[in-house]
Structure formats: structure tokens, C-alpha cells
Amino acid sequence: MTDDKQPVKKMSIIVSRGSLDGIYPALIMANGARMEGIEASLFFTFFGLNALANKTLDSLKVSTVGNSALNMAMPMLGLPMTIPFPTVMGAIPGVSAFATHLMNKEMEKLDIPPVREFLELISDSGGKIYACKLAMDMFKLKKEDLMDRVDGVLTVGDFYNESAGAGTHILFT
């Protein structure tokens, strides 16, 4: 590493999607940051709040409809990646649940925890977890509807203030 490279000091990650495949990358990036000694905060907005709401967070699903990148290898059916997963099939009741089950199984093998445990891990590691106030109002959610590791409900302005400092990177997922 050369000296003129400025280190990443903090990752502020915005999570706007509520599917399993929309949430996990953000959790993995945040946890990975903490493991490297980089500060991390997660800001959940819009459907990302599904990952914080107690009623939904333990049953998040892989999106099998309108997910053109989904292929027969992705839900771990063991078929080649070149065979697309037909969207029509994804709409059949139970298919998303099945794809989710397969994915969860693969992730467990890689020691990737379920969402609730993952949030607890990030929180224990010193990462911060925030919910977006506007999205909370929109979905009629209260702080007590969210899992207990949420550090606060922030406005967009609060979030930018929280992200202040040289070496912070803001990432939208």
C-alpha cells in the first residue's frame, strides 16, 4: 500500500430494499468494515425497514419476481447459471419461500448468520443501526416495532451529520 492512499475510516450504508438479497450485501459490507477496524453505520429506509421491523425481519424472502439476474444456480438448485429463472415461476406461491430456504441453507454453510443475529453481531461490534424517520412515518411504524438493537430514528439531515468526517464513504444499496 502506498502512503498517498487515504484509508476508508467509516462506511455509512443506506439500505432501501427489503428482500433478503437486498439486505444481506449491506450487512456483509458493514460487518466486514468493522472487522477491518472501519466504523460502520446502517441507515434503513423505505422497504429496508423490513429488516428492522420485528414482524418481518425473521421471514425476509429472496425476490423471485422481476429479478432478471436470478438464475437456476442462484437459488442453489445446482443448475448452470446460464439458465434464467423464469419470472412466471417466481410468482407461483411458495417458490420465493423455497428459493429463500435454499439460499439460507447455503449462507449458513458459509457461517453467514440470519438477519436478526447478523444485526446483533454488527451492533456488538460497535456498528450503528438507524431507521429513517420519513419511512417510519410512511409505514406507520414506531420505534418499539423495531428490533432492540436500533440506535435511533434519524432524519436524512441527522444521517448526514452522523456520517460527517474525512474518510467517510456513503453507500446506497
Binding site: 472487522m35 477496524g37 458459509l110 457461517d111 453481531l121 456488538d124 461490534s125
Partner: protein, 103 residues
């Protein structure tokens, strides 16, 4: 490559991780800990270090999650003991390879 740690010539890779875990001893651990900014190693550190070496000897893949579930240390304690890189720094001090996973 060779590096002199605590008065002994040790085989390390370019990042300073020991390439032969049998060359490790507690004096080497202490010297690496100082170099990594961890300072003096206490009982808490050594418990983690010994656990890591046991797991490595068994060929187990180490993750931050498995450490937290090991019963040896909680996630919070691990971050407090080895600030700036809990698994990376503890592995280096334990004389085992750098963990390769993302978790």
C-alpha cells in the same frame, strides 16, 4: 521471508503473519501484540490466542460469528481486546494465517 521477532528468526509472509505456526511462542505473541498496537497481553487475550491456535490446528475456518459463539469470548469482548481488527490482529498474534473469509 524471515523476520526477527523477540530475538528469534521467524518465517513470515509479506504481511507479517507467521507461515509456520509451530515457530510460535508467547514471547513472539507479545512482540507482535506491541507491534500491532494492542500492548501487553492479558489473560483475555491469551484465551483467544490459544483458542485460535486450537481451531487452526483442527483446520476449522474461523469467522467472527464462530468466535462469538465459541464460549471463549463474546463479540464485544473480542472487539475490545483487539481494537482495529479483531480477527486479523488476534490471528497474527496467535501465529496463524490471516483469516480468508468475509465474515
Amino acid at each position: 521471508m524471515k523476520k526477527n521477532i523477540a530475538g528469534t528468526e521467524i518465517d513470515v509472509n509479506e504481511e507479517g503473519y507467521l507461515t509456520d505456526m509451530s515457530q510460535w511462542n508467547e514471547a513472539i505473541a507479545a512482540a507482535i501484540a506491541v507491534e500491532e498496537g494492542i500492548g501487553a497481553l492479558g489473560d483475555g487475550h491469551m484465551k483467544v490466542v490459544r483458542y485460535l491456535r486450537e481451531q487452526q490446528a483442527k483446520g476449522a475456518a474461523l469467522t467472527i460469528r464462530s468466535m462469538g459463539k465459541s464460549g471463549v469470548v463474546t463479540t464485544k469482548e473480542l472487539y475490545d481486546l483487539f481494537p482495529g481488527g479483531p480477527l486479523k490482529k488476534s490471528s497474527k498474534i496467535a501465529g496463524i494465517p490471516k483469516p480468508v473469509g468475509c465474515i
